[in-house]
């Protein structure tokens, strides 16, 4: 089979933090799929940008080696011509939406091809039919769910009919059902003779597919050798026992019921996972618990004579909304009066942040920033526990393990830890699992029981793939 894309000893170093991509070679044949795996920090995103030509066209830095597309070097072709040959789909679908309507989103790419209006119309209709996007045609892309957005991102690239597709962690924002659907779409492309490169750290979704050959990216900074039996110190403080009670919680936003009539109670000292599809109200539920969301119904502690409000701290989904200090240390300790330095040391240790103590937060990787946001939140005193919104995003397996360790320590110290996730593997580590849908709670109980409640999973429309093992 002819080679369509060839990377010859390419490497790239970012000027900002001397990270990037270690020298690597790869060749991709027509009708072939490659699945690129690697730890965070190994340069997966950088690799996709090198292959598509964004590096060196849009980035400054030390680029060496050569990428040949159909025999032409990416450095010799202008960006718009490269884009005709290679289609790149980014990690966060919401960030690549640039048009006011779904239709315009697809047209944006078509207009740049220089084809006739009749051809554009034909391709547009084909794509709408193929991806069943017709009902969304005049909606703003920002009103679509994550899965729909990623489908649209693929559609707007596919309409341009490039030969080669490159994906930068396309699954990280998707729930299992949407992720499986997405993988099926890409497999379908390969069946039709296209070539595809997928960089992804949710390995399991691709490892079992026969369409992809696995390729391990070496990486510049190897993570420290994994010591299996490292013993982490316990959390230096402990909390009193309590019970969180939620009764008839409902939330309405601009006329829409986001949460209806939810009631549940949770004991302290456990990890609780909240799972549901996009739009089920997971984030809104956390916001209500922490007191940021106007709601109806009661949320209280220790259903006694005193109607005490819970006091939680919340780790927000996007770490960038909080970081502004000149160093990681300053960031964690900012506005903490009389900080408990023992706790600070413990957090640095547990979250693998010690080597960044003096690094400016903006220069950290996505995963590191998330851990920093967790650290700064835990440094504040939360009397009853901590809430985490999608903590697994952008974390590779190693750091997910770290996260689980930390959450376990917190729960042992008496914290009530509640997190939302679409990552079922992470959810499987919780003690307690709540499945929610826009209609309310679908299942609520110990994790091992809820995981096997088949009808509940069917009801919320989430697939539990066979390869997921839930016997943790």
């Amino acid at each position: 089979m002819p080679v369509v894309l060839e990377a010859q000893e390419i490497s790239f170093i970012y000027p900002q933090n001397n990270r990037g991509l270690a020298p690597v070679s790869l060749s991709l044949a027509e009708n072939e799929g490659v699945f690129i795996s690697g730890n965070s920090g190994s340069g997966k995103s950088t690799f996709t940008r090198c292959l598509s030509g964004l590096i060196p066209h849009l980035y400054r830095g030390e680029f060496s080696g050569k990428v040949l597309i159909h025999g032409d070097s990416t450095q010799d072709l202008p960006m718009w011509e490269l884009a005709d040959r290679v289609g790149l789909v980014f990690q966060n679908p919401a960030h690549q939406m640039l048009a006011p309507t779904v239709e315009a989103e697809i047209l944006f790419g078509l207009e740049n091809l220089g084809i006739s209006r009749a051809d554009m119309k034909q391709r547009l209709e084909e794509i709408f039919g193929f991806f069943k996007l017709e009902p969304f045609r005049n909606r703003s892309p920002h009103t679509l769910s994550g899965g729909e957005q990623q489908k649209l991102a693929l559609a707007s690239i596919l309409a341009r009919q490039p030969e080669i597709f490159i994906f930068d962690e396309p699954l990280s924002m998707l729930d299992t059902t949407s992720a499986l659907e997405f993988v099926a779409h890409v497999e379908n492309l390969i069946n039709k003779g296209k070539s595809a490169v997928i960089c992804e750290h949710r390995d399991k979704f691709l490892e079992n597919s026969t369409h992809f050959r696995k390729f391990l990216l070496p990486g510049i900074h190897q993570p420290p050798a994994e010591q299996q039996d490292i013993t982490h110190p316990d959390y230096p403080e402990s909390l009193d026992q309590f019970q969180l009670q939620v009764r008839n919680l409902s939330v309405e936003k601009s006329g829409n019921k986001i949460i209806r009539e939810m009631s549940f109670s949770l004991d302290s000292g456990q990890i609780v996972a909240i799972v549901g599809r996009n739009g089920a109200g997971k984030t809104t539920l956390l916001r209500s618990l922490v007191g940021l969301q106007k709601h109806n119904g009661d949320i209280c502690i220790n259903n006694g004579t005193i109607n005490q409000k819970p006091h939680f701290r919340m780790v927000f989904q996007n770490p960038d909304i909080q970081l502004f200090n000149p160093s990681v240390k300053d960031e964690i300790l900012f506005k903490v009066s009389r900080p408990n330095m023992q706790r600070y040391e413990w957090l640095l240790e547990m979250l693998d942040l010690r080597r960044y103590e003096d690094t400016p937060p903006l220069l950290l990787s996505e995963g590191e920033k998330r851990r920093l946001a967790l650290a700064l939140t835990l440094m504040q005193n939360g009397k009853h526990g901590v809430l985490l919104d999608e903590p697994a995003l952008g974390q590779d397996q190693h750091h997910k393990d770290i996260l689980i360790q930390l959450l376990k320590k917190l729960s042992q110290a008496g914290f009530l830890v509640i997190f939302t996730t679409h990552d079922l593997e992470l959810a499987a580590h919780a003690d307690h699992l709540i499945l929610i849908s826009p209609q309310g709670i679908v299942a609520d109980g110990p994790t091992h029981e809820v995981l096997h409640a088949d009808s509940a999973w069917q009801q919320i429309g989430l697939v539990r793939p066979d390869w997921m093992t839930f016997d943790v």
């Binding site: 970012y14 000027p15 900002q16 933090n17 066209h57 849009l58 980035y59 400054r60 830095g61 202008p78 960006m79 970081l323 502004f324 200090n325 000149p326 690094t359 400016p360 937060p361 903006l362 220069l363």
Partner: protein
């Protein structure tokens, strides 16, 4: 990549800064009974923008874009032309002030540039009043108060902009920018 005065990235940056201005203008109604208080975030963003895109004319372009947005949204009381002009003039004034004064990471410079830029908005409003024939008493009743308000809040905004720039530099923002064309 074609080389242009403003690269595409810089253009989008300025566009989004203009959006930030409009957002800040809407979201921040300080309970202060002084005219011009929205200048605090306004000038901060303009000053930051003029450094993030370090070219003459960037502040003016941010001003113009925010003016178009605000006109479309129906912000401002005296109709679209007045809004468009006064938003644009803030940028032009800041550009000119910085051309004279240099780097706003010096807080003193930032404060003065902010005051000058923001005062240009007052000038437009005032000139508009004069041209449509608003009489002597119109601003005269609160003329001094209005002038002081615009200058003081502009200066505070400028200083906030300067502080923001310093913090951005320490946090590694400019290194992050540097790698993007």
């Amino acid at each position: 990549m074609k080389t242009r005065y403003f690269s595409t990235f810089q253009l989008f940056l300025m566009t989004l800064f203009a959006v930030l201005i409009v957002v800040a203008k809407i979201a921040l109604r300080l309970p202060l009974q002084l005219s011009g208080h929205s200048g605090v975030f306004w000038m901060a963003i303009i000053i930051v923008g003029s450094r993030v895109v370090p070219k003459i004319g960037s502040a003016s372009l941010i001003g113009l874009l925010s003016g178009i947005l605000a006109s479309f949204l129906g912000l401002g009381d005296f109709g679209a032309i007045n809004t468009l002009l006064s938003y644009t003039m803030i940028g032009v004034g800041t550009d000119l002030a910085l051309l004279l004064l240099g780097n706003p990471e010096n807080l003193f410079v930032a404060g003065i540039a902010g005051a000058l830029g923001h005062f240009c908005k007052f000038l437009v409003k005032w000139a508009f009043g004069a041209i449509t024939g608003a009489p002597v008493g119109f601003i005269a009743l609160g003329l001094a108060k209005a002038i002081v308000g615009y200058i003081v809040f502009g200066a505070i905004g400028g200083i906030l902009g300067g502080l923001t720039l310093i913090a951005l530099r320490k946090a590694g923002y400019f290194k992050y920018l540097q790698e993007k064309k």
